[in-house]
């Protein structure tokens, strides 16, 4: 193998490691110092990571049992009275996030396809709007939905929370989906059009299937973010002690239940927070791993 070919095989790390000059003591010292600082920066990140995860697991795993998952909460009367489970919050999380995802999928597909197909003023405005929404504070979406629903109907309903979560899910998923469909090779598209297929057919049969793994990556990522959101749903879903199984009724999600329990005067409820936190992290992690699996698959497919 020639030297040039060998260098082409290297990762950036190996290039600077194997080929950089070793001469000049002072320069070398400075360089090593720089790398030491970078190592410290990386290690510093792992402190809170270890801190958070160990806290959740150590304090939470006692709580995770069948009763905790399936029983309804019981308002405690003393420090030792039983507090039941969190079935209400699990049901609420499923309802609120589930409906949000059901609505988000068609919306995201429509908007992404529309942005892919058009290059006029309107499309530019929408694309910038989406980027703005990605960065907007989640609490403002909660306020907006509260203003147009709860202020009008004077009732809390689970699906209001889904509406608020749409503002979290759709922008993130759309940004990912546009990137996904724009990375479909132009030759494939031209081949489809060249065979006389209509643009809609090319979209349905060529672009979307080709980009599917990356599209799913985006969806699972945004779902894992939506699952943990408290601020957008806080004002609109109210709270319940029993699962309602009805999106037109109030609901409690895992994050809002943690938020509510954490201020409790009963130690048992604060303890239950860690159980819910562990449960929530496991669920969020599940969707995150799913998204990574599809990302790896799309990378493999694209060579």
């Amino acid at each position: 193998m020639t030297v040039a070919a060998a260098i082409d095989q290297m990762t950036p790390r190996e290039i600077i490691r194997r080929t950089s000059q070793k001469s000049g003591q002072r320069r070398q010292l400075l360089s090593n110092l720089y790398f030491a600082v970078l190592t410290i920066a990386l290690l510093v990140i792992f402190i809170p990571l270890y801190g958070v995860l160990s806290t959740i697991v150590v304090r939470g795993y006692h709580s995770l049992n069948w009763t905790f998952l399936t029983a309804n909460p019981i308002p405690p009367t003393s420090a030792t009275s039983p507090i039941g489970g969190v079935a209400n919050a699990i049901d609420g999380t499923l309802e609120v996030t589930g409906i949000a995802v059901l609505l988000a999928v068609p919306l995201t597909i429509l908007i992404s396809v529309a942005l892919f197909e058009t290059r006029n003023r309107l499309a530019r405005i929408v694309e910038q709007g989406i980027e703005i929404f990605v960065g907007m504070p989640a609490i403002t979406f909660g306020l907006f939905i509260a203003a147009i629903t709860v202020s009008v109907t004077h009732k809390f309903e689970a699906w209001y929370g889904s509406m608020a979560l749409l503002f979290i899910v759709v922008p993130v998923a759309t940004v990912n989906m546009i990137a996904a469909i724009r990375s479909v090779p132009q030759t494939l598209i031209e081949a489809g059009l060249g065979l006389g297929a209509r643009p809609s057919r090319v979209m349905m049969r060529i672009i979307l299937p080709t980009a599917l793994p990356r599209i799913l990556t985006g969806f699972f990522l945004s779902v894992s973010r939506a699952l943990g959101e408290t601020a957008p749903v806080l004002f609109v879903i109210g709270g319940v002690l029993v699962p309602s199984f009805n999106p037109r009724l109030p609901a409690t999600t895992l994050p809002t239940q943690i938020y509510a329990y954490f201020g409790s005067q009963f130690e048992s409820q604060v303890q239950a927070c860690w159980g819910m936190a562990l449960l929530l992290v496991i669920i969020v992690l599940f969707f995150n791993v799913l998204s990574r699996i599809f990302l790896a698959r799309s990378k493999k497919a694209n060579g």
Binding site: T19, L38, L42, L110, R119, G129, P137, A147, V281
Partner: protein
């Protein structure tokens, strides 16, 4: 291979310009849906801004310009001076960025240029794990675990070593701006790291190889070549983190304490514009709620301004390089 890499391919869309006319008449439903989707998004967006502004009007009428200058915030007493909230928001955000920017960028450099290939996937997955922990959990962790550490170790130590000079004055309480800044930094670091890492990974190899062939050391390659060529990408990462810090709500309701006056030191309790909305909505009657919408509006304007500024800088520097 992406469309944009091909020199002849259009930037977006498969049917551009005159070619579109060929198939227009046979695909009306598709084109109709496209226009409906775009229009729908614009309508929702406009409605969002309109209703936040609309809801805040009574609040502006009651608070007036005193919203920005008044130093007492008490919704129930009709005192709508939001300066305490604004100062707390800006100081916690500044503190968070002071911690998160160097650590996040440094860690991203380390991930790409230092960590052996075999460990790279593991290390970046771990960093991303930090990003997916919900903010309510960070709040709980900050309150239960970090607050005692702050109260009994960090804050007394800071006071001792600085001989009680500002901003380390006041009585250490554990919660407050310092703790808020640390918790926010923890939440911002993975954002900075994840995006910067993606940027560092695509630095052209020619640049790195060129610098090395000129005799640069490893450190010089990173400092003089990699970092400058990634300025815009890193700026984008910092902007996203900054926006997240400004708007973070739930975690801060746990670790900031409460609010009434302008914070005097890093140990003062406070509330940010966002966290005050979460903890006070519905407590101050219709007028109080409206004032909270004012706070949300100010927050939206600040976040929007930050995004706009960073995008302008990015666009300018991109033009300079081309």
């Amino acid at each position: 291979m992406s469309i944009t890499e091909s020199p002849v391919a259009p930037k977006s869309g498969m049917t551009v310009g005159r070619e579109r006319k060929l198939s227009t008449h046979s695909d009306t439903l598709y084109r109709g849906l496209i226009i409906v989707a775009l229009a729908f998004f614009v309508l929702v967006g406009v409605y969002y801004f309109y209703s936040i502004i609309d809801q805040s009007i009574p609040g502006w009428k009651a608070a007036g310009f005193g919203f920005f200058t008044g130093t007492t915030w008490n919704l129930n007493a009709g005192q709508f001076g939001a300066l305490p909230l604004i100062v707390t928001t800006l100081s916690t955000t500044l503190l968070a960025m002071l911690f998160a920017a160097p650590i996040g960028i440094g860690a991203a450099l380390a991930l790409v240029y230092l960590v052996p290939r075999r460990l790279q996937l593991l290390a970046s997955s771990l960093v991303e794990l930090l990003a997916i922990v919900p903010s309510v959990i960070y709040g709980a962790w900050g309150f239960i675990v970090l607050r005692p550490i702050m109260l009994y170790h960090v804050e007394p130590w800071l006071q001792r070593t600085t001989h009680n000079t500002w901003p380390f004055t006041g009585v250490p309480s554990g919660e407050g701006i310092l703790l808020g800044g640390v918790v926010l930094a923890t939440m911002c670091v993975p954002i900075v790291t994840a995006i910067s890492r993606d940027v560092f990974e695509v630095v052209p190899r020619d640049l790195i190889e060129g610098a090395i062939s000129l005799g640069a050391t490893r450190g010089q390659v990173l400092r003089r070549v990699v970092l400058p060529s990634c300025r815009t990408g890193v700026l984008a990462a910092l902007t996203l983190a900054l926006g997240r810090a400004l708007g973070e709500t739930i975690a801060l309701t746990f670790v900031l304490g409460g609010v009434s006056t302008v914070p005097k030191s890093l140990f003062s309790a406070g509330a940010t514009m966002a966290s005050e909305i979460a903890s006070a909505l519905g407590n101050g009657g219709a007028l109080g709620d409206s004032v909270l919408f004012c706070s949300a509006l100010v927050l939206i304007v600040i976040v929007g301004l930050v995004n706009y500024l960073s995008r302008t800088i990015i666009r300018r520097s991109q033009r300079k390089f081309q």
